[in-house]
Every structure is written in C-alpha cells, then in structure tokens.
C-alpha cells in the first residue's frame, strides 16, 4: 500500500505556538481541516473561566467568506431568511440559510463590514452553495478562512481585559456591533458576539499578528483570570445559552440522505429569523407552506429533574408511554444554573412551553447500567442569560 506523505495533514491555527506552551492535555480534534483543542487544562476550570472571569476560545477554523460586488446585498438577502436590508454597516446578524425545501444548511453570523461588503462566518464550509446562489449576480465570494484568524474572548471580565489592552471606545460597543482598532499597524476587528451566552467579544486579525495578539491579550488579562479554553468547556456554555450546533442539534440539509432528517428554521425555534415580508429568499415558499400547514418537529429546551445528564435519551409524552415523541440532542448538568438541562427535538404537537415530558436516562455506575425516567419541563428562555451580556457599557471589574 502506498501512503502519500504530506507535509501537514491537519492545519494548525496561527495561535498554535502559544497554545502549545499551555497545553497540558494534548487532546485535539478536527474542525474542518484544522486542529482544534478539546481542552488545555481541565474542562471544569476552563468552563468556570468563562462564567467567572474570561475564557479564550480559538475560532480561527471558522469558515469565513467575504462577499463583495454590486449585488452583494441582493446575494446575502436571498441567501439567508432574515432581512439583510436592515443590517447596517458595523453590525452583525445571526442568521440561517436554507435549501429550496426550506431545510437549514447552517447557521452563522453575517458581518456588514462596510457598505456592500459582507463576511459570513459559519462552522461548516459552504463555498459550493454560495457559488450556486451567486449565479446571475454580480458578486465575488472569497474564502478568507485562512486569511483571518480569531479568538472568542468571553466572560464577565472580558470587557475589562479589552479595556486593559487599550482598546479605546470598546465601552460603547453594543451587542452585535463591531469596531476596528489599530493593533501594531494591523487592523483588529472586535465584534461583540459569541457562543457562550455571556458578556463577550470576538477578535479578528491577520494570521501574521496572531501570536502578538495572543500575547497582548493574555498580558492584559493576567489580573482578570484569563484562560484559554477548548471545545468541551465551550459546549457546556453554549448549551446553557440554548445555542444549537450543526451536526449535533441539526444536520445541514445537504448532509442528510434519508427524508425527514433535516430541519427547517421553524422546527429549530428560529422562526424569529424568518422574514416573510422581505423579497424572495431561498426556501421561502417551502417555509410559507410549512407555516401554514404546521411543522413536523420542534426543538425544545428542557429542564430535567435529577442530576444525571440525559445524553441521547428518548423523550416520551407521558410516563409509561410506549412510543417516544423525540430525543435529546445536547445534554449537560449546568454548574452555574444548578440545573439538569438539555436540548431536544420532539414531534409536534408535543413540546409547547410548559409541557411536562419524560426522558429515559441511562447511566453507568461501575460498569453496570441503570435507568431512570425523569420529568422534563419545556422552557422557552435560555438557561443562562445574565444581564451583563446585554449591558452597554458593560460593568468593569
């Protein structure tokens, strides 16, 4: 058998030289071709840095597409379900995009960088779809994933860290706004966005200044409890925030083969992102039909009795019901909320806010498996949504 030798199979983040110094675990996984750390120290320590001080997560592998050209607004507006005409330069919008059948391909953030220039960030790759969506439009789409690296700086002291870094004017940056700063003669873009449901920022810079940014950030954060975190800690925080993740809580429609395995935004609790008043967008007809006829699935946030995380559990409409009405996609015991929480997908009409459902939790103690049926209440608010996340200016520490 011949093995083709390549210099580098999995890409390193531009921040890797600094991550390598602190890494105690050597646990990495693949994120779209990049090595991404599960953690550096300990999931618990990293998690609490986000909730109590500042955690720094490397988002460099995030797919980033720059959209320019005379039809850029028309392109973005037809792509996503939200009305992009309302997105002013300097603002960011969370958005989803769908296929013709109104099934979600991915979610992500759209940056209106300057008049007519957009950047779309997402977990997955979408060049093929975007190129197709650009047929007949005068736009240029550039994959700038490797040209821009980024750090999510999240937690109650994150504002103070950036302030200590000398980012003047960061006080007035509102949620879903961004501002640019000069950083050692390079442009540093800071957006008030994140995936933790807490006060936080995302910092974007050219890879040539990655190490310098890391050093300046950690230097400034020394007294504010700054710490690098990995995916495991981030995952806890995003479930607490009620954020969904591709390949976990939904499958991008083009990754499904069996009918009924994809989800529409209405089925993912994202109806607020779908604007039927705006001009034609992809999936519009199918979504309008679904809104009229009713959805098949519904994403639910569940507050579950007990303390055993309901990983992969079936959801039942009643205790003792023979037939399940859904299943859990993300589950965790939330340390800050002191709640056993989960995201799940259930068949309608189940899953109205306030409904009492039952989850079948299997857990293992010294090799032996046990089962418990726990009551789960459907809630509508994120489990974790502190006031500081929205305050402008945020409080200093």
């Amino acid at each position: 058998m011949m093995v083709i030798e390549v210099e580098q199979g999995r890409l390193r983040s531009p921040f890797y030289p600094r991550q390598a110094r602190i890494d105690r675990l050597n646990l990495w996984h693949d994120w779209k071709g990049y090595a991404s750390a599960d953690g550096f120290y300990d999931t618990g320590i990293e998690y609490f840095s986000v909730r109590n001080s500042t955690g720094v997560f490397d988002i460099s592998p995030m797919s980033k597409y720059r959209i320019t050209g005379p039809d850029s607004l028309e392109f973005v507006n037809r792509l996503v379900t939200r009305d992009m005409r309302k997105l002013k330069p300097g603002r960011v919008a969370y958005a989803v995009w769908c296929d013709d059948a109104g099934q979600v391909l991915d979610d992500g953030t759209v940056f209106h960088l300057q008049e007519g220039v957009y950047r779309i960030c997402s977990q997955e790759h979408h060049m093929s779809w975007f190129k197709t969506a650009a047929l007949g439009m005068d736009v240029t789409i550039v994959d700038e994933t490797s040209d821009v690296c980024g750090l999510a700086v999240q937690g109650p002291t994150s504002f103070s860290v950036l302030k200590a870094m000398g980012l003047d004017g960061i006080d007035s940056l509102r949620p879903f706004g961004f501002a640019t700063f000069d950083f050692q003669a390079a442009e540093l873009l800071v957006s008030r966005t994140g995936f933790t449901g807490d006060l936080g920022y995302e910092m974007w810079i050219t890879p040539g200044k990655a190490v310098e940014l890391w050093d300046a950030l950690f230097d400034a954060g020394k007294l504010f409890g700054i710490r690098a975190i990995g995916t495991h800690a981030l995952n806890l925080t995003r479930i607490e925030a009620g954020f969904i993740q591709a390949y976990v809580d939904f499958l991008p429609a083009y990754a499904t083969v069996r009918p009924g395995r994809s989800r529409s935004p209405l089925e993912l609790g994202l109806e607020w992102l779908v604007d039927f008043e705006k001009p034609n967008f992809n999936g519009r007809q199918a979504l309008a039909d679904e809104k009229r006829d009713g959805s098949t699935w519904r994403l639910v946030k569940l507050d579950i009795e007990g303390n055993k995380p309901a990983h992969h559990s079936y959801i039942y409409p009643r205790k003792g019901a023979g037939k399940a009405c859904g299943f859990i996609t993300s589950a965790v015991w939330s340390p800050v909320c002191k709640q056993n929480i989960a995201l799940g997908t259930v068949r309608t009409p189940h899953g109205n806010v306030g409904d009492k459902l039952y989850v079948e939790i299997y857990y293992q103690r010294e090799m032996h498996w046990s089962k418990v049926i726990s009551q789960a209440t459907v809630v509508d608010k994120p489990f974790w949504n502190p006031a500081r996340r929205h305050a402008t200016p945020p409080a200093k520490f």
Binding site: E74, R78, L79, D99, D100, W129, T132, A133, L135, G136, M137, P279, N280, N282, G283, R284, Q285
Partner: protein, 515 residues
C-alpha cells in the same frame, strides 16, 4: 403606458405560436412578442443572397404533430413530400432509402431494414403518445391524472408483449451504433441511420441513448419528410395566421428583456425598447436557461433550482450551410431528376463517430457529416430561374469551439465542409455564387437560443420526460406564479413538432382556469 393582456407569450417560434393560438382559441387575450422581424424562430425562410432564399435552420418538416394540425385546422402546402434519402458513396454506388425499403444493399439488409423499421415505428408510436401528454409527476403533488398516465405508460409497455417489451427496455438507453452493427452489413445504411439518430445533438453514434433520439425522430409521422412550399416559413406563417384568426396579437421586432416578477408572481414583461406589457400569465417559448436565468433572474428563484437550470446541457453542434448555385452540381451516380431527394454524407457509422470525436474536444470535424437538400429543385420560389440553393446541416461544429467562433474559424470550417462536399460533387465549388454558414454561435445570436441547440437542451434520458427541463418543473409551470415554459426545452423536446407548445397550452388553460 402599459398594455394589459391575459397572457403574454415570449417568442414566436413554432411552439410559441402553437401555444398562443390554442390559448387565444380558448378565449384568452394573448399577446405574442417576437424579437426578430419575422415570426417562426428557427423555422423561418430567409433570403441569404439577392434572389436566393432558404429555410434558415430547420429545413425539412417531419415531426409536426398531427394533433397540432388537427387542433388548429392547419393547412400547410408542401412543395414535395415523401422525400427519398440518398446515402452518398464516393464511388457512385449510393444507397437509397424510401420508407420501409432500401435499395443498393444486400437482400439480408433489405429484410433486416424492414424489420428494423417496423419495430422502431412501433416503439416510436408508443413514445409518441407520451410526447403529446404532460409528463407525469412522480413525487410531491402527484395527482390522479399523474398516476393514471404512469399506469398507462406501464401498461402500454407491457402490452407490447413480453418479447417486444424486453426489446424496448433493452434498446431505450442503448446507442445506435450497436444496433446498426447487429443488423446491417452495409456501411452506408449504418451511416445513414447513425446520422439520423444524431442530427442536431451533441451525441455520436456510440453515445448512449441515441436509440431514443432516433425514436424521437420517428415519433408523430415516422419521419416522412416534407418540404413546405416556400420553406419553413410556410409552417410558421400558417401558425401565426391561426393565432391571429383566434384573436391573438403578434408583435415582431419586440425583444423581451425582462419578465416582471412581483411578490413571487409574474406581472408582465418589459421589452428592450422600454415597452411594458402587464399580464398575470407569461409563457416563454425561449429556452429554459434564457428564460429563467436571463429574463426572470436568479434572485426570484431558489438556489437549487437555479443550479439545475444552469446545468442543463445545451451545446449545439449542428451548423447550417447555405449555398447559392448557378446550377445543380454533378454527383456521380445521381440522375438529375433525383435532386429533390435528401442526400446524406455519412459513409458509415465510424465516419460519423470520428466526426464527433473532434467535437468532444472542442474542435470542429475535419470531415463533417451532412444532410443536404436542394429545395429550389422542387420549389422555384427559392431561387432565380435556372439557379439553385443548397441547404445543408453540417456536423459537428461544437458551440464551445476551443478556439472560439470567429470569422477565421468559420472560414476554416467552411473550407473543410467544401472539401468534403467537393469529394462527392466535384464541380460544386465553381457553381457557388453566394454562401452563408451559420455556426451554433450564429444560431444562438440570431435566434436567441442558448448554445444554438435545436432542442434547447440535449435530448437525453436525463433530460427527458420527468426531468425536462429539470426535475420537479417538468409540467410547464415554473416556480414563479403565472410563469410557464412552452418551448423545445420542455417535454417532449425540439424539432418542428409543436408538441411542447400544445402540451403547455393545455396545462395553462387547466391551471389558470382553476386559479
């Protein structure tokens, strides 16, 4: 100022006219807008030199659906019909084909040809039933009539009998080369059938589904060749007359630049000259790519649908050569009274395949294949007394010529074509007083057909029936409210048959009545 109509038909090609005539006949206030100065689209007679006229693209009538003639009560006068075919041989030992009979081949080939014709026409008749019906829906939204059509199709195939059904299913995806090799020894006969199966396509005799294209050619009238009096405009003028008599308004020299879409529905069309015509129904006989990507625009469409339309294969490969001659050329072994026939230059199937080889790689054939007529022989209106015109389809001249189509490359191809022709007609070149060569690029520009393709999209199994022009949009209605296609790019396909226009009109009348 905006004029208001019940329906606007884009393009006065034969399908557009058939559709408009049937809509008007049903009482729909219909306007037809044609970009060119004359109606007919690619079925039109044009003068290419002082005193010399010729059918510009399509030059023989053999596919016009009897249903269309019946529905509209058409009377098309012909200058000649039941044209014989002469497959030319360099040595003068030509093969002549006349209906079910073939001359100049062995007795075995004669018998085999009769058997071949009988089977092919039977299969073509079966196919023809479905060419005159809307292709059924298979998935979401399939109704009773869709299911009935499907069941009927299954039954019709089954009713052929076990042996013939197997034969039909065996042949339908096959290539014509394998079939002619199984059956015939005569190279000329093999070549002639191979040429008929591949005319107007981007396919060679060894390409899959060239049996299907052959059956398609036979459907309707079994490819009985007619030469309309005065050229193909006789057909389009008859259709235009019928449309007008039924109340349709036809305006030529009006190029539609845009279909107006408001809130997911058509609201009318706009022309290049800035005129606006309001209408809740817009029917385009233009090809699917032009209609959806250029006139409607992707912003009004779904991305996946746009991709499907974008991927329709529509690369024309047939050029048209017109020669004004000061007299008929001499052809060894052909009597002068035989010039009313159709002549083929395709000495055997390998020759056709070799000609196609070039096209695969973006080159024009060095030794092209020809379908030649001398229409002035039977129709004195086409050329001055004693003079003649020659009209020939020349293949292969790929739309996507690697070197690009220019005056130079057209000249090169013209010379190659003349070289091949001169081999059979040694005195041809000195008889030429004027000439015109239309490459697929010219056809695209002059007749507004993407890729210059006869069928507005390759006629292959993946672009046929349920998937023509694309899956999910094969029942003429497009995913924009009130927008329909009625051209060759829709089911069943191209050729001067009128089936697409007629099927579309029936769908429109049904849908718009219930809407």
């Amino acid at each position: 100022m905006a004029d208001k109509y019940d329906a606007v038909v884009i393009g006065a090609g034969h399908n557009g006219l058939v559709c408009a005539a049937l809509l008007a006949k049903a009482g729909i206030h219909t306007l037809v807008l044609e970009a060119n100065e004359r109606v007919g689209g690619a079925a039109v007679t044009r003068s290419f030199s002082q005193g010399y006229s010729v059918s510009a693209v399509a030059h023989l009538l053999y596919q016009l659906q009897p249903q269309v003639e019946r529905d509209l009560g058409l009377k098309i006068s012909v200058a000649a019909e039941n044209l014989r075919t002469v497959a030319l041989s360099g040595d003068g030992n030509h093969v002549r084909i006349d209906g079910n009979d073939v001359y100049g081949v062995s007795d075995a080939d004669k018998a085999s040809y009769r058997d071949f014709r009988s089977r092919m026409t039977r299969f073509a008749d079966l196919l023809n039933t479905y060419l005159n019906k809307t292709a059924p829906r298979l998935t979401k939204g399939a109704g009773k009539s869709d299911l009935l059509t499907l069941v009927q199709l299954g039954l019709d195939v089954r009713r052929l009998g076990r042996r013939e059904m197997r034969e039909f299913l065996r042949l339908i995806g096959m290539n014509i080369r394998d079939e002619v090799h199984e059956r015939f020894d005569s190279g000329l006969l093999r070549g002639a059938i191979s040429l008929d199966a591949t005319l107007g396509t981007h396919l060679g005799p060894r390409s899959p589904n060239t049996i299907l294209t052959y059956l398609y050619r036979l459907a309707g009238t079994h490819a009985v060749l007619k030469q309309p009096a005065g050229g193909m405009s006789a057909v389009s003028e008859a259709l235009a007359r019928s449309a007008r008599e039924n109340g349709a308004v036809i305006r030529t020299g009006m190029k539609v630049s845009r279909v107006i879409v408001q809130n997911g529905r058509v609201a009318g069309v706009e022309t290049e000259s800035g005129d606006t015509f309001r209408s809740g129904v817009v029917v385009s006989s233009a090809d699917p790519k032009s209609t959806m990507l250029r006139l409607v625009g992707s912003k009004h469409l779904e991305t996946g649908f746009t991709r499907s339309i974008h991927h329709i294969r529509a690369r024309g490969n047939a050029a048209k050569l017109h020669l004004a001659l000061d007299g008929l050329p001499g052809i060894a072994g052909v009597e002068s009274e035989e010039f009313g026939c159709r002549f083929l230059i395709a000495p055997d199937d390998h020759y056709v395949e070799r000609a196609f080889n070039h096209a695969k790689y973006g080159e024009a054939s060095v030794k092209p294949v020809f379908e030649i007529t001398f229409p002035s022989f039977r129709d004195s209106t086409l050329a001055p007394a004693g003079k003649h015109v020659m009209s020939a389809i020349v293949q292969y001249a790929p739309y996507e010529l690697r070197a690009g189509w220019s005056a130079d490359t057209r000249e090169t191809f013209w010379k190659l074509a003349l070289k091949t022709l001169s081999h059979y007609m040694p005195d041809l070149e000195r008889r030429i007083t004027a000439s015109e060569l239309l490459t697929p690029a010219d056809i695209e520009r002059q007749f507004h057909i993407t890729g210059g393709h006869w069928h507005h999209g390759e006629l292959t199994l993946d672009q046929f029936l349920f998937t023509r022009p694309v899956g999910g949009a094969h029942q003429y209605a497009m995913p924009v409210g009130g927008l329909y296609l009625c051209g060759a790019g829709t089911h069943p396909g191209g050729g001067v048959s009128g089936a697409a226009g007629r099927n579309a009109a029936r769908v429109i009348l049904r849908r718009e009545k219930t809407a």
